[in-house]
């Protein structure tokens, strides 16, 4: 319990650091951030008003405390361009990103795990070689290349799926596949490596010596132990999927937080940029924490001894 609490408390300085770094983002803008946001045509009165609205006329420590205070109330500020509360924008866009990420995760698990298992069982035979080459190729395909490729084949050449947008339920398939490919590659390689290691352990040899079939040995004995490290990867990658969604959503015109982030960058709407980065980072930290805690519960050997 002590170590459990220690892990929980360890998150506090990280979250504080994330808040500080995202707060400082606006201050990294070369020159006057207000001038950059409003453009050269803005009047002095407009600039003074925005500076006051964003609290940029206050000393830095006061600005940070005010920023934290507002965040504690769920107040992310307002979009400079639409004057919409950012919390509302996030609430509108976040479900689409989460839906995309979860579907991508499911696809990756559905393809990556069986592929990794087959590769390990048929070690150095053609299924293993095929799986390894596929995983390597997929891991070298960035989302902004794979996305257009899938679009070209399944939407333009075959006409099976919509090119982009969110009009129909089928619209999610191509962005989810794009987002899933990198994780599928990682899961395949991870499951293969982990299962290969477990298959050479004593308890597996004992199970085989007892005359159990290959199927029972792999599915009932080896797989359980082999999947433990995979849990960590899945957890870590779920957060990364949110970051990957920034590009994928842009390619497919999927209205999630990633696209909101890119739109805000294009419009120099820095409060929205700041809020998107913060929310994605905080979700990532939370998912990582939950992964660590889950891992500790699943594996009796891990009790936060670090």
């Amino acid at each position: 319990m002590n170590s459990f609490l220690k892990r929980l408390l360890g998150v506090i300085p990280v979250v504080f650091g994330v808040l500080l770094l995202t707060f400082l983002l606006v201050h990294l803008v070369p020159g006057d951030p207000v001038e950059v946001m409003l453009g050269e045509s803005a009047t002095t009165a407009d600039r003074t008003q925005l500076r006051a609205e964003l609290g940029l006329d206050q000393p830095l420590p006061i600005q940070f405390v005010t920023y934290l205070g507002k965040l504690a109330q769920g107040n992310f500020g307002y979009s400079i361009h639409t004057h919409t509360p950012i919390s509302r924008l996030l609430a509108e866009r976040l479900p689409a990103t989460v839906e995309l990420a979860l579907l991508a995760l499911s696809i990756a698990l559905f393809i990556g795990l069986p592929l990794g298992i087959v590769a390990a069982i048929r070690y150095r035979q053609w299924p293993d070689k095929m799986a390894t080459v596929s995983a390597l190729t997929l891991s070298a395909m960035p989302h902004f290349w794979l996305g257009p490729l899938l679009m070209l084949v399944f939407a333009l050449w075959l006409g099976w799926l919509p090119v982009n947008g969110m009009e129909s339920r089928a619209s999610i398939v191509l962005p989810a596949l794009t987002l899933a490919c990198g994780l599928t590659a990682i899961l395949t390689r991870m499951t293969r490596a982990s299962l290969l290691e477990v298959l050479s352990e004593d308890f597996v040899r004992t199970a085989r010596a007892k005359g159990l079939s290959q199927r029972v040995v792999v599915l009932r004995h080896a797989l359980k132990a082999a999947l433990l490290p995979v849990v960590t990867i899945v957890g870590l990658q779920l957060g990364s999927l949110l970051a990957g969604a920034v590009i994928t959503e842009t390619v497919f015109g999927w209205d999630g937080v990633g696209r909101l982030l890119v739109e805000s960058i294009e419009k120099r709407d820095y409060p929205v940029t700041q809020a998107c980065v913060l929310v994605i980072a905080l979700i990532y930290v939370l998912v990582n924490l939950l992964t660590d805690l889950t891992y500790a519960r699943l594996d009796p050997r891990v009790r936060f001894t670090r």
């Binding site: 300085p13 990280v14 979250v15 650091g17 994330v18 500080l20 770094l21 995202t22 983002l25 606006v26 990294l28 803008v29 070369p30 390597l136 190729t137 891991s139 070298a140 395909m141 960035p142 902004f144 290349w145 996305g147 257009p148 490729l149 679009m151 070209l152 333009l156 990682i186 390689r189 991870m190 293969r192 490596a193 990867i233 957060g239 990364s240 949110l242 970051a243 990957g244 920034v246 590009i247 842009t250 390619v251 982030l261 890119v262 960058i265 294009e266 820095y270 940029t273 980065v277 994605i280 980072a281 990532y284 930290v285 990582n288």
Partner: protein
């Protein structure tokens, strides 16, 4: 020479000799807009009627230069931070590692996107944004190794002989962690090539008229229906380069017998 090294050398060589091949990356041919591959231009033309091969080679140069510069800077910076943290220990270690943890709390290239967004577009800011976010891997790796090496006999002997901390770190600790750092650097080059292209794809990196694979892909996606060769050529090139670097990293890891990172 392995196939991956051959592919990587091929791209480096092409990027280096590109200026002497007589190809112009900026020459516009209005009558050739989005024309497909042919004898006059082996890979076809882009949306402004510029030779795709010339722009591809110019883009390769930019991609490799950015990845190379960022790798050198972050290798030195990250290793130094990790070595100091691991060897010094105590409060300095806790402080430096806490800072590292904060940087690692941002997934993928999110932080690089954020930095590039506020710093503004351009190659200098692109390199700065990638440097600000890419040093953490080296720092964590070097710190872990330095922590383990700090109490080795030869390090203790050097301490007793009165060697300075810097001398011990550089002469007695650094050589022992060169192998894992080199493997990390190789994988990092592949990630940086993708990161540079991602940022340019989002309009945050290299700006027109300069060629960049990411920006070319962004333009190519717009003309996917009418000129699919555009996206296929640029994406295929990017993939071949990243794959070659990754395979080289795998090979290096096996040769240098470095413990696997994740898989």
């Amino acid at each position: 020479m392995s196939r991956s090294a051959a592919v990587l050398s091929f791209w480096i060589l092409l990027a280096l000799v590109a200026p002497w091949l007589g190809l112009s990356a900026d020459a516009i041919h209005l009558d050739k807009i989005l024309a497909g591959p042919g004898m006059d231009a082996w890979l076809g033309y882009d949306d402004l009627g510029r030779d795709l091969l010339a722009r591809l080679l110019a883009g390769a140069g930019v991609s490799l230069t950015v990845a190379g510069c960022v790798t050198v800077v972050t290798f030195i910076l990250g290793t130094l931070v990790g070595l100091i943290a691991g060897y010094h220990g105590g409060w300095l270690d806790r402080l430096l590692m806490q800072i590292t943890e904060v940087f690692l709390a941002f997934p993928g290239i999110l932080l690089a996107i954020a930095f590039a967004a506020v710093l503004g577009p351009g190659v200098g800011n692109l390199i700065l944004a990638l440097c600000l976010t890419s040093w953490v891997g080296y720092a964590r790796l070097a710190r872990g190794q330095a922590l383990a090496l700090a109490n080795r006999q030869h390090v203790l002997a050097a301490q007793v002989l009165g060697a300075s901390t810097m001398r011990i770190l550089i002469k007695h600790v650094l050589p022992l962690l060169a192998a894992p750092l080199l493997v990390e650097a190789t994988f990092s080059i592949a990630s940086l090539i993708i990161a540079e292209a991602s940022l340019s794809f989002l309009g945050l990196g290299i700006q027109p008229p300069h060629a960049s694979w990411g920006a070319m892909l962004r333009d190519g996606v717009r003309y996917l229906l009418v000129a699919s060769h555009y996206v296929l050529v640029v994406g295929g090139s990017l993939m071949s380069l990243v794959l070659a670097v990754n395979l080289l990293g795998d090979k290096l890891r096996d040769t240098l017998d470095v413990k696997d990172r994740n898989f």
